[in-house]
Subunit: 382 residues, 2 copies
């Protein structure tokens, strides 16, 4: 978390910078309150003279587009705005096609840039557009949800959903700059903030016990928006950046980021991604609990660890049990089918992220599906 | 053009191998008559146990799918076949979406492979599908036109067309293997063979005078299908592979491959890509003549060079003048507008590939558009 020369002349006190180290495609994630107001200057520093296509959703546009657009104009950045409806349904082919066409209609050249102003939905969609138009344009992320700031805007995964599943069509495309204005999260509904927080807690649980302890002590300030929020976002970005730098295309260590996600995805899929019942971060929260309980079942951790994880996730208001999901859930066999189809499962063998303690996750390959099914059966009937 | 260990046990006499050097993404282009019959064994060697989605067009399917499919089955390779209509119109969003969906419906995993069996259209479309499904699947090219064997299957450019222009949406995605069966070209219509040959001649003109001389002496055997055809394909692939290895994403030297293409594209666009009037290779042939004539205008080469290029291109039956294109052509200003919009032109300055002699092309940036317009005006009124 050091400041780079490019930002040294700007207010170094107020902002933190996390560098994502990917050789010639390295980039900075700048984090802090009020960054939106100086987004123009910072983008102009990275892409001088570029024309921009700002992709955003209607909800974010209402709340933050004017300020963002003003900042771009003040920095002399010519830009067009392309809006999509808010929500997961925008991550689809039709909008991908329309946006590609609109970017071309605006006559952006390869050196110009696509800017994503929004949550993970806008980031994933706009990123895939940036990856594909002219076989790759510059891309800048201005994440506006906690989830996007600590997770989806870091790492270069972009994409849309297919009728066969989520995120199945896309590209790896790294941004040139990420601007995470933590004040912008003040307008985020509490439920969305909490969901993003599940990913923050995940970084502690998977590899950084001191960070988890720090979160136990400081989570209220993170929610309230103090400097602790910046700190939590920066440490999360740093954690993801470290893993991504080591393993850009998810061959090995990057899999740890999926802690709680195999179970979580199966729950999201079981409710047909109805976000009224379950949003991604909630699925991850329950999934992390299940991953810990399953690790206990395999005698990898004790009850004390379970208790600690459960206490923290419930304190912040996240669901921790399958039964916390409103409505009927399908039987264990259905969840197992979903898990088997999950893209993270390859050729019949089950890969899970398990743990030997807080901050001590590891990748376990070749788990016996029967053990997992028995475990889920029990969890579903409780 | 050396044989790799992987193919050493197969008939090394009959086939040549060109290695494309891209670090961990390096791959072989194998070239020779009758390769289709042993495609299965060779694919199985590179992707053992993989399931395949073979993307092809209806014309190629009628002629060569049975033999290809048989070869795959004999090698124990489970595969599905996905067909698209023959022709440029298949390089569009709708088919891209359909193919992505079909590949997912066939339950191919990330380690499985997409195979392109066809010309440049199938290769570009299937390659973009391979780049995008699950953010990148393995990709194998079995090019069936001369153009695809010497040009489009080498270098990793994939993509589809947009209403705003050709190849504007896509990805760089390198194949794992290219199998160029030169016997498969026996069924190719003469006009398509000639069009591909324009790209072969291009490699001589842009950087290899001895190769151009060799073509002047041997082109009849290349058309007839003797070992000279294999030689011409291999030398062309080697030439492109060398440039690509040096400059994977077209920053510098790779631009030389566009010799004849700025003029050529403007002509293709001027006839609205009506292939009855002009196919790509024909546009390139006329474009290469124009590039030489324009170089002469700038006193870079003499009439003797022009004569030699013209003699060879007309000997093989390629068009060499704008007036060889049937129907009315637009005025020079229209062509200039098209050139200005061409994706190879950046921020108003005109970049052209010019030449100082056969095999001595170079990139000229910042040409005065007025000079080019005057030149074109003259060419159009002759
Ligand atoms: N690319 C990756 O690596 C990665 C990682 C994790 C998740 N994701 C993807 O991220 C998506 C979920 O992201 P998300 O949770 O940000 O969803 P989202 O983008 O849909 O945002 C959630 C809601 O909050 C609204 N919103 C956004 N910013 C706001 C603000 N500042 N104030 C008020 N409202 C605001 C949005 O309009 C939306 O309605 C999923 O599609 C998931 O697949 C991607
Ligand atoms: N990716 C690249 O680097 C690159 C480079 C150059 C051109 N291209 C693209 O390649 C495309 C043109 O390729 P093309 O000329 O191969 O066109 P194509 O794929 O349309 O093939 C031309 C015709 O020949 C038919 N055909 C193919 N193989 C045959 C065979 N063995 N016998 C009989 N008929 C056969 C096809 O069905 C088609 O009708 C264009 O879309 C162009 O943009 C791409
Ligand atoms: Zn997640
Ligand atoms: Zn060409």
């Amino acid at each position: 978390m050091t400041d780079t020369p490019a930002s040294a002349d700007l207010d170094a006190e107020r902002f933190q910078t996390v560098r994502v180290d990917l050789g010639s495609r390295s980039y900075d994630i700048v984090i802090g309150r009020g960054l939106l107001q100086e987004a123009g200057v910072r983008i102009a520093a990275v892409k001088p003279g570029a024309r921009l296509a700002v992709i955003t959703d209607e909800t974010v546009a209402k709340l933050h587009l004017d300020a963002f657009s003003k900042s771009l104009s003040e920095a002399g950045l010519d830009h067009v705005v392309l809006k999509v409806p808010a929500g997961e349904a925008s991550k689809r082919f039709e909008l991908f096609e329309r946006l590609c066409d609109d970017v071309l209609a605006a006559r952006l050249e390869r050196g110009d840039a696509i800017v994503a102003l929004g949550g993970g939905v806008v980031g994933d969609l706009a990123g895939f557009v940036a990856a594909s138009v002219r076989r790759g344009m510059s891309f800048i992320q201005v994440p506006t949800t906690l989830l996007a700031q600590v997770d989806s805007s870091v790492g270069g995964k972009t994409g849309i959903n297919s009728r066969h599943g989520k995120n199945l069509i896309g590209a790896f495309h790294q941004p040139d700059l990420v601007l995470a204005d933590t004040a912008i999260l003040d307008t985020l509904p509490l439920r969305d903030f909490r969901a993003g927080y599940a990913e923050v807690a995940k970084y502690g649980l998977l590899g950084d016990e001191p960070f988890f302890t720090w979160l136990e002590d400081n989570w209220k300030a993170v929610f309230a928006g103090g400097p602790e929020r910046d700190e939590a976002v920066a440490r999360s970005c740093q954690a993801k950046a470290d893993v991504v730098a080591e393993d850009e295309h998810e061959a090995g260590r990057r899999a740890l980021l999926n802690l709680g996600h195999t179970f979580g995805h199966s729950l999201e899929s079981a409710v047909s991604y109805e976000t009224e019942r379950l949003v991604h971060g909630e699925g991850v929260s329950i999934g992390m609990m299940l991953a810990h309980e399953f690790s206990q079942r395999l005698d990898l951790i004790g009850q004390d660890t379970i208790d600690r994880v459960e206490a923290h996730l419930s304190a912040v208001g996240l669901p921790i049990r399958i039964s916390d999901i409103p409505g009927q859930m399908p039987p264990a066999d259905t969840l197992m089918d979903i898990i088997a189809q999950d893209k993270k499962v390859s050729r019949g063998s089950l890969t899970f992220i398990l743990t030997r303690g807080i901050g001590r996750s590891f990748v376990e390959k070749g788990l016996d599906p029967a053990t997992v099914r028995d475990f889920l059966t029990e969890k579903l009937t409780r």
